[in-house]
């Protein structure tokens, strides 16, 4: 009774929201790359979304407990692939993030997210129920997440490596942490931040400085922040219309089909379009959270919440950057930004959510 059960239990609501967001994304990629050398990007995106749907269906079929059981080899593979990326990866914009697999360039760090989600879920559900985290567990978990994070950071890809943090933090908080520990960790972070600043690359420091004061160097690093804000403001209430955004089409927005897709969306669809898109993202996250609430066991809760936290972090940082309320981190907007790895990894995660939903009544 596989197929009918799927029909009965698939989260059609979640799927509908996902597909509407993807459509907006494809439309915006089409508009932003119109008459440029990336003109076929929208078509590629359609292909990725279709591929993502298939992957999602496959993952839905797999019992997430089985996946949790394979976390260790998956983790080992992730580390290995990240190391391979460092050696043979394609260098783009000074950063080595991609490896070629069967004609596609894959961004390994995007898929590592899923492994991290499973790892955190597995680790925390292994603990005794109701038991608070001890220092030993905390250190072990942080170390496990920290190794791939450092590898990704070395690519260098600070943005993606940072996306692992919300998964970890959400998991720890869900598992329950003593207040004392929480305070100590917070204090330690506050001390470490200024030290960590020195380990940033110069361009990363520039980005932070431009976030604080974009007018400091309006022709240089502040350019993206200023131009993105101008694009958003230029959209006004109703937007400039598809392919009519001057900031998007005259090259004032850097990469308007990927990281800054929401700037060009906001320029062409205005505040009204922005409200619609953000409401869709809000519903998407709430629906993932709803699946966490109905999950059959702790593993399911951790998986859904990890995914929810990750999507929220992506939206916050990407859209916040677009309006100048977040520093430029260079992470994509899930489901909208052009880029295969991100789309596929998002659909894989949604497959996981579905898998949890499908098995909520079984136990």
């Amino acid at each position: 009774m596989g197929a009918p059960r799927i029909a009965r239990t698939t989260d059609w609501y979640l799927l509908a929201i996902t597909l509407v967001i993807c459509s907006l994304g494809v439309l915006q990629i089409y508009s932003a790359t119109h008459a440029t050398k990336w003109e076929d990007a929208w078509w590629k995106q359609v292909v990725f979304v279709a591929g993502g749907l298939i992957l999602m269906w496959v993952v839905t079929q797999i019992d997430y407990h089985a996946l949790l059981g394979q976390v260790v080899p998956m983790y080992a593979l992730s580390i290995a692939l990240l190391l391979v990326t460092m050696v043979v990866g394609n260098k783009v914009f000074g950063s080595t993030r991609w490896i070629r697999v069967a004609g596609f360039t894959l961004q390994v760090s995007e898929f590592v997210k899923i492994v991290i989600i499973l790892l955190v879920a597995r680790f925390l559900s292994d603990l005794k129920a109701g038991q608070k985290l001890e220092w030993r567990d905390l250190a072990k978990l942080c170390a496990l997440v920290g190794v791939p994070m450092l590898l990704v950071m070395k690519e260098p890809d600070l943005g993606t490596s940072l996306t692992y943090i919300p998964i970890l933090v959400c998991g720890i908080l869900m598992a329950g942490l003593r207040w004392k520990y929480l305070l100590i960790v917070a204090a330690a972070l506050l001390i470490c931040l200024p030290i960590g600043y020195h380990f940033l690359k110069p361009y990363q420091k520039d980005r932070l400085a431009s976030f604080v004061d974009p007018e400091r160097d309006p022709k240089g690093t502040g350019f993206q922040v200023i131009q993105s804000r101008i694009a958003v403001g230029n959209g006004g209430m109703w937007g400039r219309g598809v392919t009519q955004g001057s900031q998007t089409h005259l090259g004032f927005l850097p990469v308007p089909q990927t990281d800054f897709i929401f700037s060009s969306f906001a320029e062409e669809h205005g505040f009204v379009g922005v409200v619609v898109a953000l409401v869709l993202y809000f519903l998407l996250i709430m629906q993932i959270v709803q699946n966490a609430q109905t999950a059959g066991d702790r593993e399911g809760v951790y998986i859904c919440m990890g995914i929810g936290a990750l999507v929220l972090f992506h939206v916050l940082v990407n859209v916040g950057m677009v309006v100048g309320r977040m520093p430029v981190a260079g992470i994509p907007l899930p489901l909208m930004s052009s880029g295969g790895s991100n789309v596929l990894s998002m659909f894989l995660m949604l497959g996981l959510v579905n898998s949890v939903r499908l098995r909520r009544l079984v136990s």
Binding site: V72, A129, M174, G233, N234, L250, V289, Q293, V301, V323
Partner: protein, 632 residues
């Protein structure tokens, strides 16, 4: 692999308990997460609200500034022509360099200033001053060297802010010819920008600063056009909009006659003073010269600080238009007006005689006549031709200051003429009211005596005197002097004078020139010139002595006696006596009547030629064909 083993062991044990636990413990935490989600989305939406709903205009303008690059198309100013259509002021096409503020980098300025031989401080000050302008013109009249330097350095890598535009340089006559009438143009000053009439002007605009350029600035200046180009973020031109063409300024035809102007300019060469010639029948100014003069070509666009200082610090004030701004005592040139006042008011008639023993006492003061030996018994006609002071002392005494003021004010003394030039100064005609108002003092009858010979408080400019004389010459009708050819004559005052009185004064002035009077130097053959000399004493001060100032020489004249067509006044500063100014007036008058005769002769010749000309169609056919082929 401890992780895996421990999990397997515990799974069976606590499955049931775990389920309950997870839901109970997780519900509250999930709720907290949901609140965080709500907060994040409100935070993000508020960002879009501020940008898109609260300030959309600010950002859409910023987007437009990003994509539209506009360069001005400068409108040429209108030409200035003389009454016959000859060009006095023209434009020359040239190139100017401007900087686009969008791309401007401060650190480029020293190099640009250096390459174009500009003063860095001037340039930086200018860029700072024009804070609001998208473009700043920093150099006019680029030399070929400048041009090639700019062309080779305006690429994106070096100084992309530079742009060359076509511009117009104002071309004025050489050596300050008619400079005071024409005026000059210059960049609008900060002080002018604050004035209400310049509300629509921007820093960096070129406006008329003086003279006709100033007075008719709105006519002469055109409307600048604009070339708008859609550019991308790399500054590449994507699309060129249809340019908004410049509208050229309108040409202006003046009443000046270059033939007369040239003669007057020559006559005043090396002197200080002014000459004004006008047509008394309508107020058209035919010539106006002021000396010393300046070269307005130095002022076009951006005058150097050194040149400017030199001109401003000159003690003889070359920028001052003496024709309209030099207020001096008219001396004896005032006497015809006093005589007219006497006749009109009835205190004298042409037979009234006074005795001149070489001076006379009034109110306890002795007033001398210029001729120590005296004129004996003297009546009106001889009093004017000989310029007898004592005669006019008596007339003035009989009139009293207020009646004198009444009649002379009719001629325009004590006011402005209202000519279409900026900064005309008002002449002074004293009266009891005037003294009360100016000095809060009573008028003493003794003061009237010197006013009656054009000394004392009475002052006049050459233009005001010419206008007064012109009105008198045509029987007491005063037209407003003007310089615009198309302007309709404006009759400002009609004295309704007794023609007999006017004729007697005019007879006297005829005598000045033609009956061995003081102005015989102004006589012209076959032309009945009427005139009057004037030698005006200056109140000596230390400063004047140091500048070696002597008495001013005046001469006023009009011609012909019966039907005046031209009135000329010359002021020769420190010319010592009026006779020295007479020949200046004579030269201008001669030029006028010579030209008139020449034109009349040409006209009759032309008519005769026209009548004797064999027209082609009157010829036999072959001849007409031959002529036609010959033309080929």
């Amino acid at each position: 692999m401890a992780l895996v083993e421990s999990q397997r062991e515990r799974e069976e044990v606590s499955s049931e308990q775990l389920l309950q636990d997870s839901t109970k413990a997780a519900t509250a935490k999930i709720a907290v997460f949901q609140y965080i989600v709500v907060a994040v989305f409100i935070f993000l939406l508020s960002g879009f609200w501020t940008l898109q709903v609260q300030n959309p205009d600010y950002y859409s303008e910023a987007a437009e500034r990003n994509r539209i690059k506009s360069t001005p198309i400068l409108a040429p100013r209108g030409k200035i022509l003389d009454r016959d259509g000859r060009v006095i002021v023209d434009n020359k096409a040239s190139y100017s360099l401007l900087l686009n503020r969008d791309q401007l980098k401060w650190e480029h300025l020293p190099a640009i200033a250096d390459a174009l031989h500009l003063d860095y401080n001037d340039l930086a000050g200018k860029v700072r001053r024009m804070g609001s302008r998208p473009q700043i013109v920093i150099k006019d009249e680029l030399t070929p060297d400048d041009m090639s330097w700019v062309q080779s350095h305006r690429d994106t890598a070096t100084y992309p802010e530079m742009d060359i535009i076509n511009s117009w340089r104002r071309l004025y006559p050489q050596d300050g010819y008619a400079a005071h009438v024409i005026g000059y143009v210059g960049e609008i000053s900060d002080a002018e920008l604050d004035l209400p009439q310049f509300i629509e002007y921007h820093p960096g605009d070129v406006i008329g600063k003086d003279g006709i350029e100033r007075e008719y600035d709105s006519t002469l200046r055109g409307v600048d056009g604009e070339r708008r180009v859609l550019v991308d973020s790399m500054g590449r031109e994507r699309q060129v909009d249809k340019p908004k063409d410049a509208v050229a300024g309108k040409d202006l035809q003046l009443t000046l006659d270059l033939d007369l102007q040239s003669v007057a300019e020559l006559a005043m060469e090396g002197k200080r003073g002014a000459v004004v010639a006008l047509d008394p029948r309508n107020g058209q100014v035919l010539a106006m010269v002021s000396r010393p003069t300046f070269d307005p070509n130095k002022f076009t666009g951006r005058i150097s600080t050194k040149d400017w200082k030199e001109i401003v610090d000159d003690p003889y004030k070359p920028l001052m238009n003496r024709a309209t701004q030099a207020e001096f005592a008219p001396g004896s040139t005032f006497k015809p007006f006093v005589a007219l006042a006497g006749l009109e008011s009835g205190v004298i008639d042409d037979q009234t005689e006074f005795h001149c023993p070489g001076g006379a006492s009034f109110y306890g003061h002795y007033f001398a006549c210029w001729r120590k030996g005296g004129h004996g018994n003297i009546s009106l006609h001889r009093a004017i031709t000989q310029s007898c002071d004592v005669y006019f002392y008596n007339v003035g005494n009989r009139l009293g200051i207020d009646r004198l003021a009444h009649y002379t004010q009719l001629a325009g003394f004590g006011g402005k003429t209202g000519i279409d030039l900026p900064n005309e100064r008002e002449s002074t005609m004293p009266s009891t009211r005037w003294k009360l108002r100016t000095f809060r003092q009573k008028w003493y009858a003794g003061e009237t005596i010197s006013v009656a010979i054009g000394q004392g408080a009475v002052t006049v400019s050459p233009l005001e005197l010419a206008a007064a004389l012109g009105g008198l010459s045509i029987g007491g009708r005063w037209y407003r002097p003007h310089l615009l050819r198309d302007a309709k004559p404006v009759l400002t005052r009609d004295g309704h004078l007794n023609p007999q009185d006017v004729a007697e004064v005019v007879d006297g002035m005829y005598g000045v020139v033609n009956e061995g009077g003081t102005g015989h130097a102004a006589a012209l053959p076959n032309i009945e010139v009427c005139g009057k000399t004037g030698t005006a004493q200056l109140v000596s001060t230390e400063k004047m002595k140091s500048m070696h100032l002597k008495n001013n020489a005046w001469f006023e004249a009009f011609a012909p006696k019966g039907a005046p067509e031209i009135a000329v006044v010359a002021l020769f500063e420190s010319g010592e006596e009026g006779a020295n100014a007479a020949w200046i007036v004579r030269d201008v008058m001669k030029a006028y009547f010579d030209k008139k005769a020449r034109l009349a002769k040409e006209r009759t010749q032309l008519t005769r030629e026209f009548h004797t000309l064999t027209l082609p169609w009157a010829m036999p056919m072959p001849a007409a064909l031959a002529l036609g082929s010959g033309l080929n």
